[in-house]
Symmetry: C2
Subunit: 256 residues, 2 copies
Amino acid sequence: MTTGQDSTRGSLTVVGLGPGATDLMAPRALAALTEAEIVVGYRTYLDLVRDCLNPKSEVISSSMMQEIDRCRKALQLAEEGKKVALVCGGDPGIYAMAGLVYELAKAEDTTVAIDIIPGIAALNSCAAVLGAPLMHDFAAISLSDLMTPWELIERRLQAVAPADFVVVIYNPKSKKRTDQIVRAREIMLEHRSPETPVGIVSGATREHETVRLTTLGTMLDEEIGMQTTVIIGNSQTFFWRDKMITPRGYSKKYGL
Amino acid sequence: MTTGQDSTRGSLTVVGLGPGATDLMAPRALAALTEAEIVVGYRTYLDLVRDCLNPKSEVISSSMMQEIDRCRKALQLAEEGKKVALVCGGDPGIYAMAGLVYELAKAEDTTVAIDIIPGIAALNSCAAVLGAPLMHDFAAISLSDLMTPWELIERRLQAVAPADFVVVIYNPKSKKRTDQIVRAREIMLEHRSPETPVGIVSGATREHETVRLTTLGTMLDEEIGMQTTVIIGNSQTFFWRDKMITPRGYSKKYGL
């Protein structure tokens, strides 16, 4: 790929905004946004931080399905010598843009400096609003088969269900993709009680946050969409008041 | 449990400090620390934020192994009507104090308001300094058998190894506990190539940060301790320059 006149100073910072509440975004992320000459991102995420941006910065927003163009553009501008921030919701390193940026950087053999600023991911924020469901070993699985064969996703569900992992499900369902969460639940039910606690969260820490506590048996009665995270408890997970808790083992060991 | 005279205003906020760099701690966490009347925590974590604390706050520090006493004390002070912050490194909800607080709260049937402020966990920060190793489905497993039978830990390793999960290992080793990481590697090697990329990180984002890239074959040559996080790649994970990257599948699908 051609490099610009001033490529030595160009840089690409991939910035995790966290779950959406401004006070859950790290100061380092905010600094990267205000210092960037160009801020690139998916419209919805840019809207979350528009007030934080430097009025002098150029802002390039795109729609959700254009992530390759978005990352390529960000990398290209950095190669031309610009200081670029690419924004992601949550943590760039968990089902977000960090990997794609590196896949493109490798393909284009760029020498641009790339930096990842981690953020509070959906799994962290959803766990916090639910209580403490991830206190023991857990697996994160995306049910989107856009780029992963369904057979592999199912194999992963089959693996973790009998090994009693707490399971965090990303991308459980979309308008066109409705069967996967049904099948995922079936697989879990082959190994866990229908009474197993399940937490369903969308918009964690944001105005439209919804938190629902349900069970494996009844979880499909709840509304689940693309923006929803589903956390399925292990055999020890319990509800207490309005919280979902997976014990680490203190009660058993020390008889609290 | 007895409640104090003014228990209606008491509260316990469990605060995630993030990985250690002050600019990776959320403003909400900082606010909770400055607003607390009493700040309770493990000494090492308190040292990270001592400059942020309100000089008027009482600070109660303890050593690492006293986590039950520490949480019980924090809960008790909140029940007496105090505004208490309990600090945790990383994210309180991932192998930290959120679960124990709820286990104790349930045992003591407290009515105190409990709030969890999520943070950037070790898995988030270690992934960011390594590049993008967690871009596909992953499992987090602690090798500490203090409160979890080793048989269950081994069953979990056996489950995720053939299902090609990226694996994040917490608590890989301590002075007294040295065999588990050896066994974990053996299990992974039954299903993955010795060339599989492995990232070993300690002190992510802190002054003494060390980041090492190695492979399943050679990982035991590296120093590994209690403060180390080990990330074992899946069959697609690769090294590029000094980064460890697990592709999401864009290159394969779109031929970048």
